[in-house]
């Protein structure tokens, strides 16, 4: 009897640890709630490309985030009455930006730079890291942004694994 209780204890403990292990990335990197549930899927299905809004992944380190004025370029005339668009236009009219919450973000103590342009130049598609956003509304963290993920891929494709390549 005593033995079976002890065994249960260990089983419970290991289950708890396993659960914590799987939940850990979600706990440390929870998907943020956006001020406005931007439907990526609708825009992509309508024939837009990633680079129509996030314009500079091929040119710059940062892919770029469109301002609300850019939303207004189309939506001043297009589907102006849907609730999300009305919300966005309200921001634009006030001259404010939508306070988007970053999804793919490194912690400050990682001291790391991610040059989008080099990865695009190497021939990677946006979906390699960001997933297929035709099926999603707001973005969520597809890959845990830890160094193991980066360095495994760098080793696989023979990219530089020198520290200073990314950390500066």
């Amino acid at each position: 009897m005593l033995q079976s209780i002890t065994r249960w204890k260990y089983l419970l403990l290991s289950l708890l640890l396993a659960g914590l292990g799987t939940a850990w990335p979600r706990l440390t990197h929870p998907t943020p709630v956006q001020p406005l549930a931007f439907p990526h899927s609708l825009h992509l299905q309508a024939g837009l490309h990633c680079t129509d809004c996030h314009r500079y992944p091929a040119q710059a380190a940062s892919a770029g985030l469109p301002g609300v004025q850019e939303c207004a370029l189309c939506h001043a005339r297009l589907r102006t009455q849907t609730p999300l668009v009305r919300q966005a236009l309200a921001y634009a009219r006030r001259g404010a930006e939508i306070p988007w919450r970053p999804v793919y973000r490194f912690s400050a103590s990682a001291h790391v730079r991610f040059p989008h342009n080099m990865h695009i130049a190497a021939g990677f598609a946006c979906s390699t890291c960001h997933g297929d956003l035709r099926k999603e509304t707001t973005a969520h963290l597809l890959k845990p942004l830890n160094m193991g993920v980066c360095i495994t891929c760098h080793r696989q494709y023979g990219a530089s694994t020198e520290c200073q390549n990314c950390h500066y």
């Binding site: 103590s109 193991g148 360095i151 495994t152």
Partner: protein, 448 residues
């Protein structure tokens, strides 16, 4: 209380020597509890200081460029030095078969373990990002990033963890028979604890022979470890290019200093144990006198090393090193330097050299000044060396410790006391079996 250590069941009335030595484990006075509470409060305060320092940044300490190391490294070297009280001295006494060692060894070995625990914390306490302290350990990850084995700090990691393991075992193994005795004389949680710790020790003759052999062999190996540990600690300094740190003499100098402060700590702790637990019959003036002689040797050795170190610097007259030299001898740190000489040599030398003064009181006074002096010695090595830089522009004698540093340093003393107090409550502080329970009869002093 549920956990009691009872006298031997078949003896009624008469207290045996073994019972007398188990006495400190049996009764806890009110003063003990108050003391524990007080110490815990100080340690708690120091923990707060550490967390505060980690959260706000090391800027809360008095450290600034170029004095990147200050109180914490001083404490580190000091406590690792104190740790040479136990294992090294006890191993030497065991190998030379000095029979007067019996009541002393365990008290000494316990100092080693606790001083190492405390000293080993400081490389973490002084880190800028202490939460990443485990990066110093080689552990496999998918990143495959290892520590730098060329760094003296990495050698420290290996040396100290080896030393801690070895000296814990070296404390534990000779304690097995006493733990078995405690197991047989106790009830409750203590019984369960001792039953686990005594590893089903029965006292068969095979066990005795093997244990004696193991202790003997381990003593030989442990000396090798202990000497290497403080040499490696000294290499933290000697392997650098900082003028006045970069010295070939540092290895033996640090080892000698470590044994020096170690013996002093042992004498102080023995005097306290003797007083508090009424162990007058076991810790006799003879032991203090013998350790006093050892301390005298180390005083002379220390004096020799310091003189050799200072004289070569002075005579070489290299401009880089003279900055540190003058700051010690007549400059900003002169008062600390001369206090150190007073504490380490001028006061203890007559107290230990003159036979009439080499009493318990005399050796304890000498030991206390030596402990202060040796702490100062570590400080005198660390800070003026760091402060006097090659490019004269960067010399900076402005380092003053901040209250976090002072609190944490003081708390180490409390932590040592507390660990030692707890140890004496749970384990017999004097090796009962090695004394043969003082040859099967209770000494007169124990009868109350």
């Amino acid at each position: 209380m549920s956990a009691v250590i009872s006298p031997a069941p078949h003896v009624s009335g008469v207290k045996t020597a073994a019972d007398a030595l188990l006495q400190p484990m049996r009764y806890t006075s009110r003063a003990y509890r108050r003391m524990t509470l007080l110490l815990l409060m100080v340690i708690g305060w120091a923990m707060f200081c550490f967390i505060y320092q980690a959260m706000v940044g090391l800027g809360v300490t008095g450290l600034r460029r170029p004095v990147f190391w200050g109180f914490f490294i001083t404490d580190f070297v000091f406590w690792i030095g104190i740790s040479h009280a136990g294992t090294l001295i006890s191993a030497i006494l065991r190998l030379t078969n000095a029979t007067w060692r019996y009541p002393v060894t365990r008290a000494a070995e316990a100092i080693t373990v606790f001083a190492l625990m405390i000293g080993g914390l400081f490389p973490m306490v002084h880190l800028g990002r202490p939460w990443f302290f485990y990066w110093l350990a080689p552990y496999p990850t998918e990143r495959m990033i290892w520590p730098n084995f060329r760094s003296p700090l990495e050698w420290d990691f290996f040396a100290i963890s080896t030393y801690l393991t070895a000296s814990t075992l070296y404390l534990y193994l000779p304690m097995l028979p006493d733990l078995a005795l405690a197991r047989d004389r106790s009830r409750g949680w203590r019984h369960r604890l001792y039953r686990f710790l005594s590893m089903s020790w029965q006292g068969t003759q095979v066990q005795w022979r093997r244990l004696e052999l193991a202790i003997q062999l381990m003593a030989a190996v442990v000396i090798g470890i202990a000497v290497s540990v403080h040499t490696i600690v000294s290499w933290d300094f000697a392997m650098s290019v900082v003028p006045s740190w970069h010295s070939t003499i540092f290895g033996p100098y640090f080892v000698a200093g470590a044994i020096f402060s170690g013996i002093a700590a042992l004498i102080v702790i023995m005097a306290i144990l003797r007083r508090v637990y009424h162990l007058e019959a076991y810790l006799q003036p003879k032991h203090f006198s013998n350790l006093g002689k050892l301390l005298l040797t180390m005083t002379l050795l220390w004096g020799y090393f310091v003189t050799a170190e200072m004289i070569t610097t002075w005579y070489g007259n290299l401009p880089d090193e003279m900055g540190t030299f003058w700051s010690k001898v007549s400059g900003h740190y002169a008062w600390l330097f001369w206090t150190m000489v007073l504490c380490n040599f001028i006061i203890p030398f007559p107290l230990l050299a003159i036979r009439k003064l080499r009493t318990i009181g005399g050796t304890v006074i000498a030991s206390c000044t030596i402990l202060v002096g040796m702490w100062l010695e570590r400080f005198i090595i660390v800070v003026p060396g760091a402060a006097s830089q090659r490019l004269s522009f960067n010399r900076w004698y402005g380092y003053y410790p901040h209250w976090t540093e002072i609190s944490i340093s003081l708390a180490t003393l409390c932590a040592m006391t507390l660990l030692y107090m707890l140890f004496t409550k749970v384990f017999p502080i004097i090796s009962i079996w090695e004394l043969g329970a003082t040859k099967h009869s209770a000494p007169a002093a124990v009868e109350e």
